[in-house]
């Protein structure tokens, strides 16, 4: 397509370079900013000789093996669990209306920030939490809170619970998204039908026919989940033990220590973190190969029924337990946010008060303001840039190259703890003192990929003949963009904006680090309060964390309906 040369088209044409630069420079710069100190080069401390003493220090840290093991184990087990449960749910409810219902119940959990989810689960499983109240004293005879270790158990079980519950909805929605694609879904369903007519019970048919094909489409998202969970900070910080914590949490503590000399050890730790993440991805791929190898003869052995009924019952049980855990955690949190006096085995508080809400809302003003300002600026930039890049794509009539497509997801694949510290160092080098701008800049790294992912499909599906017709009528490209495409895409743009806001709301580490601890948002406050004294205030903050994104999603969903109804 030959495109007129105007300011608008020049802007559009150059936008992909801006996008790539905005993502690559901070990530690679950040990695460099960690790599140098990791090998001993840290001029601020007078250390400017390369060496391995950072690593020596790191491996001499008491409990370092446990930290590594915790990071590795919790993320591998939780991802495995989330995957297995996803598959069981799909297999058991493949042709049942329950699949849609479960999807609708789990969907909203996706936008609950990790910190809020962790806080909610904590409320459920602490000794004086909702769970032990539910079974006391009638079943257990407990009059005082039991002496159990949850949360903060040294084995990372609470972390695994938290991670699994967060990963499961994501994997399930990915799988359902694949099945909803007209071509793939229809073929898979027809193949399942063939298996059924060949005498396979529905469950075995799913495992032997659907799963091998479906898995191919789920592979990358699974690896992304694995990478993310191996280095995530919020859930281990809130639900994990501190003696020792996971490696990612430990790195964060070393970086934030007043003792600057710990920075070198922390940087070496960040490198180790990357290695752990890589080895996790490698282990997963090995596991995959092994399963593939072992299952070839199983697939074609002609066995048509493997205790499908039993598996189905187990799945019913797991699904019920999981949905109850989520439901109870939410109820517990709401109750705590209104609780007056609430003595132990009582299931409900003696009195309900609104005091915690009113005082928290007063305290909350600055963090709330910061949260909104940062999220809105980040999202606006992300949406504008994404739209320009997608428009550039249409004007060049080809999609962006595979490399650029990959780069967009770079910040999601590389453990953020590994490059964010380097990024902070980079900010210091260019003397960027403006905390707000730094925070927006770092949020952009995580908001952009999601906004792009969310908008790209709708934009690419837009019928190109609209613009051809308009162009043939002599309409300027900029006018086509502003007055034709954007109104047509109103709904997807609003949804992508809500998503962008939700992602920004939920950021903990980037806010904490880029803001140099000076910028408080709802999320950073919620995490700080989570292990603090007042469970009630913490409940209010965690609920606010859930309400904010929910509010914007509802707005994004309702606004086009109102808008178009007025037109008649």
């Amino acid at each position: 397509m030959i495109v007129a040369n105007t300011l608008f088209t020049r802007l559009v044409r150059n936008s992909p370079y801006l996008l790539i630069a905005l993502l690559v420079v901070p990530v690679l710069g950040g990695l460099l900013g960690v790599l140098l100190p990791a090998f001993g080069w840290f001029p601020a401390l007078g250390a400017n000789e390369f060496g391995l003493f950072g690593f020596v220090q790191l491996f001499n840290t008491p409990g370092i093996e446990r930290m590594v093991l915790l990071s590795f184990g919790t993320s591998l087990i939780s991802t495995l669990l989330a995957f297995v449960i996803t598959v069981l749910i799909l297999a058991s409810y493949f042709n049942s209306p329950w699949l849609k219902r479960i999807q609708r119940l789990l969907g909203p959990i996706l936008v609950i920030p990790h910190a809020a989810a962790a806080i909610a689960i904590g409320f459920l499983i602490t000794p004086s939490g909702f769970l032990s109240r539910l079974i006391s004293p009638w079943l257990t005879g407990w009059d005082i809170p039991p002496d159990w270790l949850f949360p903060h158990d040294p084995y990372g079980l609470s972390i695994i619970l938290g991670l699994t519950l967060k990963e499961l909805p994501f994997l399930l929605l990915i799988a359902l998204g694949v099945l909803a694609q007209p071509e793939i879904g229809k073929t898979l369903k027809a193949q399942h039908k063939v298996a059924s007519s060949l005498g396979y019970c529905p469950m075995t048919g799913f495992f032997k026919v659907i799963l091998p094909s479906l898995y191919g489409y789920m592979r990358l998202p699974i690896l992304a989940v694995l990478a993310y969970s191996s280095a995530s900070v919020e859930i281990p910080l809130i639900l994990g033990s501190n003696t020792p914590p996971t490696l990612a949490v430990a790195i964060m503590q070393w970086f934030n220590d007043v003792d600057l000399s710990l920075r070198i050890k922390a940087s070496s730790g960040a490198i180790l973190q990357i290695l752990i993440t890589l080895s996790l991805l490698g282990s997963w791929c090995l596991l995959e190969l092994l399963v593939k190898k072992c299952s070839t003869s199983f697939l074609v052995n002609g066995e048509r029924e493997y205790g499908g009924m039993l598996i189905q019952r187990v799945t019913h049980l797991i699904t019920t337990v999981m949905l109850s855990v989520i439901g109870l955690a939410l109820v517990a949190m709401v109750l705590w946010s209104f609780a007056g006096f609430w003595s132990f085995p009582d299931l409900l508080p003696q009195q309900l008060v609104t005091l915690h809400w009113s005082s928290a809302l007063l305290q909350m003003q600055t963090p709330l303001f910061n949260t909104l300002v940062i999220a809105i600026s980040t999202t606006l930039i992300a949406i504008a840039l994404t739209l320009f890049v997608l428009e550039a794509e249409q004007q060049n009539t080809k999609t962006i190259s595979a490399i650029s497509g990959f780069i967009i997801y770079l910040p999601l694949l590389i453990p953020s703890i590994a490059f964010l510290f380097g990024l902070v160092w980079l900010f210091e080098q260019v003397n960027s003192q403006h905390a707000y701008i730094n925070v927006v800049f770092s949020h952009l790294l995580f908001v952009l990929p999601y906004v792009f992912l969310s908008l790209a499909n709708s934009y690419r599906r837009l019928d190109p003949r609209f613009s051809t017709v308009a162009a043939s009528l002599g309409v300027q490209p900029s006018k086509i963009f502003w007055q034709l495409k954007l109104p047509l895409l109103l709904s997807p743009i609003l949804i992508a904006s809500a998503l962008g806001l939700a992602i920004s709301f939920s950021q903990y580490l980037p806010t904490l680090l880029s803001g140099a601890g000076r910028i408080n948002t709802i999320t950073t406050e919620a995490v700080t309060l989570a292990n603090g004294a007042s469970r009630r205030t913490s409940a209010v903050y965690a609920l606010m964390q859930m309400l904010l994104p929910a509010l914007f999603f509802i707005l994004a969903w309702a606004a086009p309906k109102l808008f178009f109804r007025n037109r008649g």
Binding site: A190, S197, N301
Partner: protein, 222 residues
């Protein structure tokens, strides 16, 4: 063969309706080796009839009547226990399995070696000798159709249903494949029900032809 005299698929007073309005009614018996051909305009309910026969009627529809396979009532039997094979216009081979794997998937359990030999022989018979280890995606349309046919036949069904099985093949291939399918149906003495839009299919089947009516327009509209 003893079963030859008994083999039959009987549709007893079937009435299929969607949201209270009658789609079709049918009363037929198909004997082993015979092909019952169903024709009719698009949307007249041909595929829906086959869905009922295999026990996968979408919840939108309501069926009244009984189905007998070899004198046994199977109206409420689960689809995977019916022993009724299905052949669609798309071969729907499983992409994660080889040609051999696709056929082995369908065969009853048994000794590995015996199954392997059986597959090789069957492939040989339909002109696909030595293609055991090929991926289904790398076969031509006609070859895929033949593998799909073998897959159904070697699963030892007691009846077979064909939903426009040849419509994606060009005319030369269509004739060959059709002949092969009908030969095999006779050889295994299977009752068969075939849905088609093509007159020549119906003639080649040499069996009874039933033409379903289009939904009366006023009824469809209401």
């Amino acid at each position: 063969m003893k079963s030859q005299s008994m083999s039959s698929l009987k549709i007893d007073n079937l009435q299929l309706s969607q949201q209270g309005k009658l789609l079709l009614s049918l009363n037929e018996e198909v004997k082993g080796g015979e092909v019952l051909t169903i024709m009719g305009p698009s949307g007249s309910g041909k595929s829906t009839l086959l869905n009922w026969l295999v026990g996968m009627l979408p919840s939108d529809f309501y069926a009244n009547g009984e189905l007998y396979l070899n004198q046994q009532i199977i109206t409420n039997t689960a689809s995977h226990l019916r022993n009724i094979g299905l052949l669609y216009q798309d071969p729907l081979l499983f992409p994660h399995l080889t040609v051999e794997g696709n056929i082995a998937f369908a065969m009853p359990k048994g000794d590995k070696k015996t199954r392997k030999d059986e597959i090789s022989e069957a492939l040989n018979q339909v002109g696909l000798a030595g293609m055991e280890k090929r991926c289904p995606q790398n076969l031509s349309g006609g070859q895929q159709a033949r593998v799909a046919l073998l897959r159904v036949l070697l699963s030892k069904p007691k009846a077979i249903l064909l939903d426009e099985p040849f419509s994606k093949l060009d005319s030369q291939l269509r004739q060959e494949t059709r002949q092969l399918v009908f030969e095999q149906i006779q050889r295994y003495s299977l009752p068969a029900v075939m849905v088609t839009h093509d007159e020549s299919d119906a003639i080649a089947a040499q069996g009874k032809v039933i033409t379903l009516d289009a939904l009366p327009l006023n009824q469809a509209a209401s």
